[in-house]
């Protein structure tokens, strides 16, 4: 078992040596190190601003075919004046005439010719009312337009009060005329104007009454046509086309009527409205014809007829598509209006087709017109109209084709352009229009792509941009288009392309431009998307700690980012970008570049979230370099920055603390453990609230131990052991401290404490793989200290976790304890028995156990049991081979108790007759004894050889003495006695001699075999007695130490 203990101790010393190694923070999987805290590069997201596409000009999609029934001819009163007439001027003249005539009527109020003046003044009042109405109507129309454009809040009201005032005056004068001059030839005129004015005042019944009276009383009056026209107009205004047509028909029968053309014109519209378009067209053709005729002559109605013809020519465009196809247009217009007007009419028709939504007809006419004069200005415009038309219609296929044709035929490098090169404004305008159309188209495509996010749409928009840049090489919108092209490419995740497009905006250098700043930023953001992620950076940089050059994409990014930072150092995103750049420098170990930028962020933007990230990286740069002094110093610098959040400051303080710890750790890697220990102690002193306190104390303890300062180590380990564990690491070091403490107690001779610590560890950490062995250590130390109960307790707990012979060997150890305690021999017997029955490779221990069992029984006076066990010792020794000395001693014991005792007990008979026989018997016993002792000697155990020889010598001496002791027969006298004694001497003498020789042999053998025990003394004493030695040497005293004396030697 001794050997076993040694083995265990050795193992534990190895374990202890392992423990003396510093707790390396890097190997602590569950503990966060400085690096763990810092190495994470906080991802910074610079949000890309969503830029709305500029509003593109949208072409209203025609609602479909124009509802012809809603088309209205212009108001009739327009036709009273020739084109270009100034209504203002007319009104002024009219006012003067009114003033003049009014004066006349006042002057000649009693005159018989006053009727003439009234008629003339009434006419002027009617004219005046018409002019006012026209003016008011114009004014109303303008306001209505403004209202529809939402430029006016209130819907305007047409108030004709100012005009009707004159109608009323006119009525008064005509009524006076009819009353005072019932037979006057101008009565028909008066009735007509009364009817007219009543209609104007809305008194239609009165008006109709006057017209009817006129027609009945004066059927041949020229005012009959006027009345019919007025009634026609009345119904026309109320959209009672058929009623209106009845009155227009009556006039149209009279070709000489002033209102002939007018009635045809109005009838044409009535027909148009009632679906008789072809017939209506014929009426318009007649109006044109009449107009043409009127040009060649003078007279009443010439102006209005010409103007009506002009109006009819315009309106023909409305009527034509209802009757004919576009391909017939040129022929028709040639025929009706003459060759000179054809182009103009085709032009109008084409645009009408556009309005109408008949794109193919419009396109046909436009293409026809272009063909007429391909290099004309209008040709370019017609193609544009086609483009617009299809763009608005959303027919992309045709639109693109026409757009392409437009650009190709009229854009830069076209024949058209060459032909018109002298017309610089035209060229410039055409370029502008082409550019704007193309741009609008592309932006619309882009908008669609943005809305749908469909790849197809994006690709279409991208194709558009490509086309734009192919044709448009300069211009004010190039920045815009490059910018939005960049936006599109960004959305399409073509970040490099996007960056290039943004960079073109930047390269253009329009710093005050709308897109310059955003382009610089977006270029950064686009390139940022192509930056490698952490894993890719790791692959590029590897484990190198040396600066690594940026790959090209990073160079581009940092270049863009630095340009942004240079131009817009105080912009919202500048901190984030600066952080991104510096974090890249950091990742590529370009610390010299990273540090100033990171510090700049912290110093100048302490409240920004990037200040925290930057602080982290700054700290980690020092951490990576293992420059913990620098780390502590820079921590102080960071802590000096005001404005950093308390959370960040707390973190920095934590890192500073860890830096101190790392410094201490660094010191611990040196060859001076005392310095290392003091370094940790310094850290503890400076960071009394650090989370690393337990670890630091532990490390200090480890180093103090290395430095040979065990007391300090023990003190610190004890503190660690009693430390309230905050972290998993704390728990770990507490455990290791407890372990180390046990060894340190042992090392410093505090065995009782060591046993307690081993036991405590095993109790606290029962699942630790060493706990079992620590139980054993505790048991062995307690055993040595004679702390029996504690020892047995720990042996038994060790035993519970052990198997096989290791488990059984503990029984032997416990048996030994009980054996030593003496008071509970039965316990010793139980454990020896268990041990002997159990498996063990320690055969010597098994033999010794049997021997101890024999001895215990002997001490308990159980003779037979003890002899039984002595025999077992002999038997088992023979079987197992080990433990010869116990077998030899057992045999001696048995011989002494049996053969020797029997021999000594046997007395030689004093009866001469029996004497020879009894001598013979005793001699036989002696020989038997000798034989037995030979067997003892055969064990070759020095002590038992001496014991055997001594016993044999004593037996021989006893034999001799027994013979000598035989009493001299009483009957012998004189010489007989002498002879008898000589005979006795002859018998006993050889035994005596042999006894001396044997005892001397025992002594000699003892000296030879270095056996100095009681048997030697017994042999010497016996020799003295046999030989009668006495005198000086027997009295001599040996001086020896008290210790030896106490040791029983």
């Amino acid at each position: 078992m001794e050997g076993k203990f040694n083995m265990k101790i050795s193992l534990l010393i190895i374990a202890a040596l392992f423990l003396t190694m510093n707790v390396d923070a890097r190997k602590r999987s569950k503990t966060r190190t400085v690096g763990d805290i810092l190495k994470k590069i906080e991802a910074t997201k610079i949000k890309k601003k969503k830029n709305l596409l500029p509003e593109s000009k949208k072409y209203k999609k025609p609602k479909g075919k124009v509802n012809l029934r809603r088309v209205k001819p212009p108001a009739s009163n327009r036709f009273y004046y020739s084109e270009g007439t100034s209504e203002r001027e007319l009104e002024k003249i009219t006012d003067k005439q009114i003033d003049h005539l009014y004066g006349m009527t006042q002057k000649f109020g009693k005159s018989s010719r006053r009727g003439e003046l009234w008629i003339r003044l009434a006419e002027l009042y009617v004219d005046k009312a018409k002019l006012i109405e026209l003016r008011l109507q114009d004014d109303y129309d303008k306001k209505l337009k403004l209202y529809s454009e939402k430029k006016l809040k209130r819907r305007p009201k047409l108030n004709l009060k100012e005009a009707t005032r004159y109608n009323k005056k006119s009525i008064q004068l005509y009524e006076w005329f009819v009353r005072d001059f019932p037979k006057d030839p101008k009565l028909d005129q008066a009735l007509f104007f009364l009817g007219y004015n009543y209609f104007e005042l809305g008194k239609t019944q009165s008006g109709k009454k006057k017209y009817t009276e006129l027609v009945k009383r004066f059927p041949r009056s020229p005012y009959v046509d006027e009345s019919n026209f007025a009634l026609g107009e009345y119904y026309f205004e109320r959209e009672k086309w058929k009623d209106a047509r009845v009155h227009y028909n009556k006039i149209s029968k009279n070709k000489r009527s002033r209102l002939y053309s007018f009635s045809l014109y109005k009838r044409a519209w009535c027909k148009y409205k009632t679906g008789e378009v072809k017939s209506g067209l014929r009426d318009l053709e007649k109006v044109i014809y009449e107009g043409r005729k009127a040009k060649g002559r003078s007279g009443d109605g010439k102006v209005s007829r010409i103007r009506l013809a002009s109006e009819a020519a315009k309106d023909i465009v409305v009527f034509f598509p209802e009757v004919y196809k576009a391909k017939n247009a040129r022929g028709y217009f040639n025929k009706v209006l003459g060759e000179n007007s054809t182009k103009k009419m085709l032009d109008k028709l084409a645009f009408f087709y556009v309005e109408k939504g008949d794109r193919s007809s419009a396109k046909y006419i436009f293409k026809n017109l272009i063909k007429d004069d391909p290099f004309s200005v209008r040709a370019y415009e017609y193609q544009h109209e086609i483009v617009k038309m299809y763009q608005a219609a959303g027919n992309q296929k045709i639109f693109k084709k026409e757009l392409f044709e437009w650009i190709e035929n009229y854009g830069a490098g076209s024949l058209w352009r060459r032909e018109n090169k002298s017309k610089t404004k035209l060229i410039a305008d055409s370029d502008t229009l082409i550019e704007s159309t193309l741009r609008n188209y592309i932006l619309q495509l882009h908008q669609t792509a943005q809305n749908s996010r469909a790849k197809f749409s994006q690709q279409q928009a991208q194709d558009g941009y490509k086309m734009y840049f192919r044709y448009i090489k300069d211009g004010k919108n190039l920045d815009q288009m490059n910018f939005f092209n960049g936006e599109l490419l960004y959305d399409m995740q073509d970040y490099v392309g996007a960056a290039k497009s943004y960079n073109r905006v930047v390269a253009n250098g329009n710093k005050s431009g709308k897109y310059y700043k955003q382009a610089i930023l977006n270029s950064v953001l686009a390139l940022e998307k192509k930056l490698p992620n952490v894993k890719e950076i790791k692959a590029l940089v590897g484990d190198s700690k040396e600066p690594v050059e940026f790959p090209q994409n990073l160079k581009s990014f940092t270049s863009s980012a630095n340009r942004y930072l240079k131009e817009f150092p105080k912009e919202e995103n500048s901190v984030a970008i600066k952080y991104r750049v510096s974090s890249l420098h950091y990742s590529f170990n370009q610390h010299d570049k990273a540090l100033p930028q990171l510090m700049d962020i912290v110093n100048n933007h302490p409240k920004d979230k990037h200040a925290e990230y930057s602080a982290n990286l700054v700290l980690d740069i020092y951490n990576q370099k293992k420059d913990y002094a620098g780390l502590a110093k820079v921590s102080d610098k960071l802590l000096a920055v005001s404005g950093l959040s308390s959370t960040v400051r707390k973190k920095i303080r934590g890192v500073k603390g860890q830096a101190g710890f790392k410094l201490a750790e660094q010191a611990a890697t040196g060859k001076d453990p005392l310095k290392a220990a003091n370094s940790f102690m310094d850290f503890i002193k400076k960071n009394p609230k650090s989370d690393l306190l337990a670890v630091s104390k532990f490390n200090a303890a480890v180093n103090f131990k290395k430095a040979g300062r065990m007391s300090d180590a023990i003190k610190l380990y004890s503190e660690v052991m009693n430390f309230p564990a905050k972290t998993a690491k704390d728990k770990e070091v507490k455990k290791q401290a407890r372990r180390s403490l046990a060894f340190l107690y042992e090392q410093t001779g505090q065995y009782a404490n060591a046993a307690g610590a081993f036991e405590g560890f095993a109790k606290k950490y029962p699942k630790d793989q060493d706990s079992k062995n620590y139980r054993y250590n505790a048991a062995v130390i307690y055993d040595a200290l004679d702390f029996y109960t504690s020892s047995i307790r720990n042996y038994e707990l060790f035993q519970k976790k052990s198997r096989g012979s290791e488990r059984n060997d503990v029984n032997y150890a416990i048996a030994n304890i009980w054996d030593r305690r003496k008071r509970f021999p039965s316990k010793a017997l139980v454990y020896y028995d268990r041990f002997m029955k159990g498996p063990s490779t320690n055969n010597a221990a098994k033999i010794k156990s049997a021997y101890r069992v024999a001895k215990i029984h002997e001490s308990l006076k159980r003779r037979s049991r003890s002899e039984e066990w002595y025999k077992k010792v002999i038997y088992r020794q023979r079987k197992l081979g080990a433990g010869a000395s116990y077998a030899a001693e057992s045999m001696i014991k048995l011989v002494e108790r049996n053969e020797f005792k029997n021999f000594k007990k046997y007395r030689i008979s004093t009866n001469p007759a029996k004497m020879a026989g009894s001598v013979k018997t005793k001699l036989a016993l002696l020989n038997k004894l000798k034989e037995k002792l030979k067997k003892v000697v055969a064990y070759d155990d020095a002590y038992q050889i001496v014991a055997a020889l001594t016993l044999q010598g004593e037996a021989l001496d006893s034999m001799a003495k027994s013979i000598y002791a035989v009493p001299i027969p009483k009957q012998l006298k004189g010489d007989q006695i002498k002879q008898y004694k000589a005979g006795i001497e002859n018998i006993a003498g050889p035994y005596k001699k042999e006894a001396i020789e044997t005892l001397q042999a025992a002594v000699n053998k003892a000296y030879e075999l270095q056996v100095y025990d009681e048997n030697v003394k017994r042999a010497l004493t016996s020799l003295d007695k046999i030989q009668g030695n006495s005198g000086m040497m027997n009295e001599m005293r040996v001086l020896k130490s008290l210790w030896l004396s106490k040791a029983g030697m």
């Binding site: 065990m710 001086l1039 008290l1042």
Partner: protein, 251 residues
């Protein structure tokens, strides 16, 4: 040979082994040793072992404490540990031998004692113990070998009244007598009595020798007279009386 009552207090060398250990710590250990308090001794020893875990003195002192406290296994454990660091220290072997004797392992005890004696300086306890065992078992020849070598070395220390030297001289003289060299024995006895002037055992041996020789009666009476003055041991005094009578008879 009759009962031998020999009283020799153990005197261990107090050599300072480790330069880094303050002498005060050894002084403290020495003081606590006298108190026989385990707590005090262990504390004092641990302070030294905390500096040098192999400190010979601290370990040996601890071992002696446990030996005296009859905790022989503990003593054995500590001595074996100390011997790993100091394999040639005779004191440790000697003490381990004593532990083995206590644990009834004479063979190992004697073996350690012999090894101790080989490494021991002349005055070392191991020599004394080993020679005393030889002499006690009358193996004078074996005792004579080492003692004859040692004696010339310890002679000078007799003048300092070294008790170990006195004991060794006594045993040497006895061994010489045992081997018949009476003259040399007388000379050694004489020299020994200079140191062991108060050692009644030595005086008794010398007196016995003088009486047996009968040559220098005056010296014999002187020794008898000194024994009577120094000893309170009745048994010894009875023997002294007997010697005196023998001497008287030789007149």
């Amino acid at each position: 040979m009759k009962g031998l009552l020999i009283v020799l207090s153990l005197s261990l060398s107090l050599q300072v082994q480790a330069a880094t250990i303050e002498p005060e710590l050894y002084e403290s250990l020495k003081k606590t040793q006298k108190t026989k308090s385990e707590k005090d001794i262990v504390t004092a020893a641990s302070k030294i072992l905390a500096i040098d875990e192999n400190d010979f003195l601290a370990l040996n002192t601890l071992a002696i404490f446990y030996y005296e406290a009859k905790k022989y296994n503990m003593a054995k454990l500590i001595l074996e540990r100390a011997l790993k660091a100091h394999p040639n220290r005779a004191e440790l072997k000697n003490n381990l031998a004593l532990v083995h004797f206590q644990l009834d392992n004479k063979k190992l005890g004697l073996q350690n004692l012999k090894e101790a004696a080989q490494n021991s300086d002349s005055e070392g306890e191991a020599n004394l113990n080993l020679s005393s065992i030889y002499v006690e078992h009358r193996d004078y020849q074996k005792a004579l070998g080492p003692l004859s070598n040692i004696y010339p070395k310890i002679r000078s220390k007799l003048a300092t009244k070294s008790r170990a030297a006195t004991a060794l001289a006594n045993n040497y003289a006895v061994a010489l007598l045992g081997t018949g060299d009476k003259d040399k024995a007388e000379k050694v006895f004489k020299e020994a009595t200079v140191a062991g002037i108060r050692d009644t055992n030595l005086l008794f041996n010398y007196a016995t020798f003088l009486v047996e020789q009968g040559k220098d009666k005056e010296e014999a009476y002187k020794m008898i007279s000194r024994l009577k003055f120094l000893s309170d041991d009745r048994n010894l005094l009875r023997k002294v009386d007997k010697l005196e009578k023998t001497l008287d008879n030789k007149k």
